[in-house]
Subunit: 282 residues, 2 copies
């Protein structure tokens, strides 16, 4: 059971949005799909769900080609930035309507989540702020119970409290009823606590497909006084530096030699967002 | 020299957006203005810059009442989410136009930043993505050289790389030519490295006005195996918990007693975003 993508390519006029992409999203895993603006994340998610068509290549959902195949597509729910719901429809009616299309939609769970987010389900789509527009779609995604759930920028417009609540509900849902979840987001350090696998896309190509653990153990962070840090990093592979008052942090690729660590320097884990920036800059 | 706010109140129909707010933003400091969606941040920034009017109270800019006083208002630049620029105007013309209004606008610096962000200044406002719409306004804010710069959601739509670049340019600019900068944002943990002072607004009231250092030293974070953490936190003031695989983190208010720290637990600094969520939930 998986979403399998084979040799997908897609051009928009002169821009190559996807360039021979092949990747497998396995059963019951949480993926972070990370990329810069314009890297091809949304194009990939839209092709998987048949909203747009590839120029070349194929998508298989549980071994069935997804192209215009309703049986395969019913296994996938895509929460996207774009709004396909009628402006004047009430949220509770959208829930109901989703339940008719996706047979396993859990209305009780959806209404509970709405309460937690303080979303009034009597409101119409048009009456919602950017944050609540994300929230009602996130609730559907977490209640729809398809084997594959794709989330494109789920926390757009959410304040820190609501983002925190979303991550908690996502993990709760996943623990109770595992599914394959693909989260595309720019808030990489935040989502780092949630995802197990990291897929990095750059200019239409997959440049990384590893577990978060593999990526984060590829290096470490060191902090201390600027002079100590500057001395320590000589000859090491430094992918980033931060200075904050007197404190300097360096993000270093490679293995830590603990016995060679000078007094006064603190070690912490690699920062996924810093690593991402380094991988995708320029 | 300061922005001084005295007893500001503002109602929208039945909603009290600001409730007797008094606060002073001092010379050459960087403030984080933090609050949930709807807490009153944007209302406060808009009243300071005279875009909307308070029901009661006053704003003084360098001791001069700001209300309909161009001399005072020329000292303040507000970068806001709302777009007041003509759709068909080219970015480079907006730069020029801003230079005519704000005499100290640094065109060379603006064009340099545009290059770093890969913003084509020949484009018109309407042709920009959400990210680049934030970027061109951020560039103006960092080049305008007013004594007071207010940034309302400056990183909206920016990917991690561009956010990183923005924070770096902000700090660079501030080091070269200090000014009072107020940043309103939902990405609290990220901005935590940039701000010196934290102002928290909740339901129209200022509930916190402290240095970041004071806030972060009010507690600490402890991580380790779930069983060790659960045992350690008994009787302590825990404001949040995160579980990630086998690792558990607890955010604790109070002073750390180092000699009572069991083997196997790691200590790190308090997380500003967790602290904020705790202060503003419910």
């Amino acid at each position: 059971m998986s979403i399998e993508i084979k040799n997908l390519s897609k051009n928009y006029k002169s821009v190559q949005a996807l360039d021979d992409v092949s990747i497998r999203f396995e059963e019951n895993k949480i993926y972070g799909l990370l990329g810069r603006n314009g890297a091809g994340k949304t194009t990939l998610l839209n092709i998987i769900t048949n909203r747009i068509f590839a120029d070349r290549g194929e998508v298989f959902i549980d071994d069935i080609p997804s192209k215009e195949n309703d049986q395969a597509l019913q296994k996938v729910y895509l929460m996207s930035e774009k709004n396909f719901y009628p402006d004047k429809m009430k949220i509770k009616d959208i829930f109901r309507w989703t339940g008719e299309f996706y047979g396993k939609f859990d209305m009780e769970s959806a209404m509970n989540m709405a309460e937690k987010f303080e979303l009034s389900t009597n409101k119409v789509v048009k009456g919602l702020s950017t944050g609540y527009t994300s929230i009602f779609k996130v609730i559907i995604a977490l209640s729809v119970n398809t084997p594959y759930v794709l989330l494109d920028e789920p926390v757009l417009g959410l304040d820190a409290n609501h983002r925190d609540l979303f991550y908690k509900l996502l993990i709760e849902k996943y623990s109770e009823k595992p599914s394959t979840i693909i989260v595309s987001t720019h808030l990489i350090e935040e989502v780092s606590n949630v995802i197990e696998n990291v897929v990095v896309i750059k200019k239409g190509k997959i440049i990384k497909d590893e577990t978060r653990e593999e990526l984060l153990t590829a290096g470490y962070t060191i902090s201390g006084s600027a002079s100590l840090v500057d001395q320590y990093i000589l000859g090491k592979s430094v992918i980033g530096l931060d200075v904050l008052g007197g404190l300097k942090s360096a993000y270093i690729l490679g293995e830590l030699e603990k016995d060679k660590l000078p007094e006064g320097l603190e070690v912490s884990r690699m920062d996924l967002q810093k690593l991402f920036i380094q991988m995708t800059n320029a």
